[in-house]
Amino acid sequence: MPNFDPATLDYILLAPQFIVTGLIFVCLALDLMVFGRGHRFIGWVAILGLGIGIGAQASLWGVRSSFAGVLRVDDYSNLFNIIFMAAGMGVVFLSFDYAERFFTQPGEFYAFLVAGVLGMGLMSQAQELLTAYIALELLGFSSYVLVSYAKTNLKSNEAGLKYIVLGSFSSAILLYGVSLLFGAVGSTMFTDIRAALGTSVATSAVAQIALVMITAGLAFKVAAVPFHMYSPDVYEGAPTPITAYLSVASKAAGFALTMRFVVMALWPVRGPVSDVIAFLAVLTMTLGNVVALRQTNIKRLMAYSSIAQAGYALIGVAAFFAAGDIAEQASRGVILQLIGYLFTTLAAFGGIIAFQVVADGRENISDLAGLSRRSPFAAFAIMSALFSLAGMPIFSGFMTKLFLFAPIARADLLWLVAIAVLNSTISLYYYLQVIRVMYSESPAGVTALNASTVAAIKAASIHHEEPVLVGASVAHGSGHAADSHGTSHGSHGAEPHGDVSPSSAGPWWRRRLTDGMEPELRFPIDPISIELGIGITLALAGMFALGLYPAPFVNLAYDASMALFAK
């Protein structure tokens, strides 16, 4: 161990982490002071605090320093910290409405979220196994609470229990691996492990068993097949913003630690490690996509899709065995894939949350029917995100494919590229099913407003300030389905107002213009809160920015990956 003299440490390097730590306590303290809708205020404080944290972290850009050999502050950890804080901000934006609607005590929720962000940030900085383990547990424990946060929801409780049991199990395996490795190497520092693995220690049984166990523990964190079993159940049961949080941030943190560990500690044995990871990657993306084909629950579908996306990122890690700048380019690809996935998932879950808040927490894909008519913005966000996940252009998914495939092909793994593209073709099939339901089908249980009904409402609203049909927007699934041609129940009462269709007059060509055309169906538009709107808009903006002009993101990722590989 290096000499650990508190007086000589440069504490300013950890300023962002101190800010985030302080924010946890501010959120907790505020929870004691505000009531009811006041939780929104705590949410905004969390967003503000994380924003300050991002600023502080960005001001450390270019620094390359080791904090007593235990934590490493460089552009790699800087970028990942910024990613995690941005993810935390995004999830807070998505949580306002959901928390108000489904949680009994929304206040503490934000404190746990921020605690998770701190844990993830430390995971990306750790260069010592016990520190990494503690950071991982900080993230784990806050996640266990968050998953089961909807106290009155049985599924949420079940998910929380599963997550705790399986999470502690994987932690135990990881910790056992760490202790074995300590036995073989005599140190938990990444650099010492690297030095030892360069010698005959690498072939000893103890070291090999230890590496297998540590790999399994990390694979659990990124939900790689065959360590993914918990994730569909947990993702389905967890409150929806937390599902987004787990699939984006928690997974990215797993990758941050994995890449750091492979590059700094496992470098001498990277050949076999890459082979194992390539194998896991193929399993992960294929199984995730194939099982997703059969899902009927949107959150479960997103869980399997998230497994598949982790598989794409893993193929980047599989190219680490290659020489020089190929490995650097591969890590850049993984980072960009994670950034793209962050924006995309936040946009998708933002749309899903906007739907769930109005629709009483429904989560079957068939419940999304006609979403494009009721919530055009939410439907657009989900559609864009799903196209992006399938790797379609304009969106980030297309560009991240290039960033991952170029280094892999350079490392002579063209077959992995083929499997990955084949997988994204499979995934398009189930994404298109969701898009079809949203755009092609009519909303169930909501009455369409046709031309005469609109006229009736206008006439009625001269007398009443509140149009009658606005109330219909919350009456989802209340029995009668609107028929697809707009001649719906609402129109019966409106007959006395006369037929507003102009087909009875005018020259023949004007009659032909309207005759037989499907009338435009209008539905009451579901409300969407400002916070949720901001969250979705930011996520969409990021997605389009990365898809249309990726150069700035590439430059950031370039600095980060250079720092990762720096001596």
Partner: protein, 490 residues
């Protein structure tokens, strides 16, 4: 901003503007779409007229930094192969915009998606960077799914899914082939001219032999090359009018253009090796499409299968590796794009009134729909290759090319023309002549906007048919270097 970038971005920017227009004002939406398509059309005319074929090569060059780390530049330019196709796309954009004025359900979303797709097509034809070309290629195909699912008819969900999945399956091959070419050429640049310069050095003959079919099959999906054509009848049948016009009129040409620009141009030695295989597939497509068209009972399916047949000619023309054949293939793309756009515009006008597209139940329509009959019959005559209309010259050139290198293929292709005459003339005779059934007595002739579209396209067919010289000079100037690289028949 140069001509090409303005031409490409105008529809894209119009789509963004349309997204911001409130949906209660469809009139403004239509106006914005029309203005954008007129701008693109005028600029495409400027590019076409300004292209100096004596000088040949790429002209109207523009370049913008985009992603230097991976060697990707937004590099634009046209040559004699892409300039006629740009005109074609602009015509389809303009006519598709005008013919869609009738759309009453969510016109705002319709126009936004439609314009994005067409902007993507411009991007493919104008791009000189392999990655940007492929990006634009996928942008062009992406909006097809919502366009068909929301505004389509008969079996629209199935058709849209099939079209999109097959488009993306093609992209799968292109991804692999594109990344392989990029890495093989030193992983420095996606610039097409740089890659082409490596065709006889870094891109070794062995490499080209392996990856030429990958590229050709990838683009072949969208070019409706047999047996990858199955998306086309269903997709064209289900799509709304303007989308059928784009899908059949331009999207299929994207595939064929990719086969030439990326396949034959970048991998000439592979092209020479695989020429017999793809000539065979093209011939099968031409014959198969013709036979299937005879058996169809739905107007759109007849035209869709005849498109498969005509695109079979294009594949034959490209794969004969002769200058005459390649010239014919490019001109056939233009001609076929114009005539299918006319077909689908007319069929859409009929479907709006009659709500059916079954061939057998119509009769004697010429009596109360004279303009309609005239336009439709012109398209049919162009399709069966009547001299004086656009279909004649390109088919003749393709057959000449085929006779030069594969005489048997030439004979089969000529025989296919007889098939085309059968189904086209039968279509016209059944639907428009004979006694007028009372059921259809109430049908009216074309609306003013449909009349404009019909007249515009008929005029284009006649211009290309009567005076193809400017097209041929231009195509020949740029096709000759391609054939020279391959070492084909001049």
């Amino acid at each position: 901003m140069g001509y090409l970038s303005t031409m490409t971005l105008a529809p894209f920017i119009a789509a963004l503007i349309i997204m911001l227009i409130p949906s209660e004002r469809p009139g403004i939406t239509r106006a914005v779409a029309l203005v954008a398509s007129v701008i693109s059309f005028v600029l495409s005319l400027v590019v076409f007229a300004g292209y100096n074929w004596h000088q040949a090569g790429f002209q109207f060059r523009e370049a913008y930094q985009w992603l230097p780390d991976y060697g990707i530049t937004i590099s634009l330019g046209v040559d004699g192969i892409s300039a006629p196709l740009i005109i074609l796309n602009a015509v389809v954009l303009l006519t598709g915009t005008v013919v869609s004025f009738k759309i009453a359900d969510r016109p705002k979303e319709f126009y936004a998606l439609f314009l994005v797709s067409v902007a993507g097509v411009f991007g493919v034809f104008a791009s000189l960077d392999l990655f940007i070309l492929f990006l634009a290629y996928d942008i062009a195909g992406l909006p097809m799914y919502p366009l068909i699912v929301i505004w389509g008819s008969t079996r629209k969900n199935y058709a849209a899914l099939k079209l999109t999945l097959m488009h993306v399956a093609g992209s799968l091959f292109i991804w692999v082939g594109m990344i392989a070419i990029y890495v093989q050429a030193g992983a420095k640049s996606f610039d097409l001219e740089y890659l082409a310069s490596q065709a006889h050095s870094l891109l070794t003959p062995g490499f080209q032999t392996i990856f030429f079919p990958v590229i050709f099959i990838g683009f072949g999906f969208l070019a409706a090359m047999w047996p990858l054509h199955t998306w086309s009848p269903d997709g064209h049948g289900a799509a709304p009018t303007a989308v059928s016009m784009v899908a059949a009129g331009v999207l299929m040409k994207l595939g064929a253009y990719g086969c030439i620009r990326v396949g034959v141009w970048l991998l000439p030695e592979g092209a020479m090796v695989w020429s017999p295989v793809f000539v065979t597939l093209g011939t099968i497509g031409a014959v198969y499409g013709g036979v299937m068209a005879i058996a169809q009972r739905d107007f759109k399916f007849v035209i869709a299968h005849s498109s498969v047949s005509h695109m079979g000619y294009v594949i034959v023309g490209i794969s004969t590796m002769s200058l005459v054949g390649l010239n014919g293939a490019v001109l056939q793309m233009v001609s076929h794009g114009l005539m299918t756009a006319l077909f689908f515009a007319m069929i859409g006008a009929m479907y709006d009134q009659a709500h059916t597209r079954e061939v057998g139940i119509f009769g004697g329509l010429a009596r109360n729909m004279p303009w309609y009959t005239g336009f439709f019959a012109t398209a049919c005559l162009a399709s069966l290759g009547l001299p004086g209309l656009s279909g004649f010259i390109p088919e003749l050139l393709i057959f000449l090319g085929a006779f030069q290198t594969y005489p048997i293929v030439g004979i089969l292709c000529v025989a296919t023309v007889a098939l085309a005459a059968t189904y086209m003339l039968r279509l016209v005779a059944r639907a428009f002549f004979g006694p007028l059934s009372p059921r259809w007595a109430s049908l009216h002739d074309l609306l003013p906007n449909e009349w404009f579209v019909g007249a515009f396209l008929v005029l284009s067919l006649i211009i290309v048919g009567v005076y193809p010289t400017p097209f041929l000079d231009m195509i020949n100037a740029s096709a000759a270097p391609v054939i020279e690289r391959v070492g084909g028949v001049r």
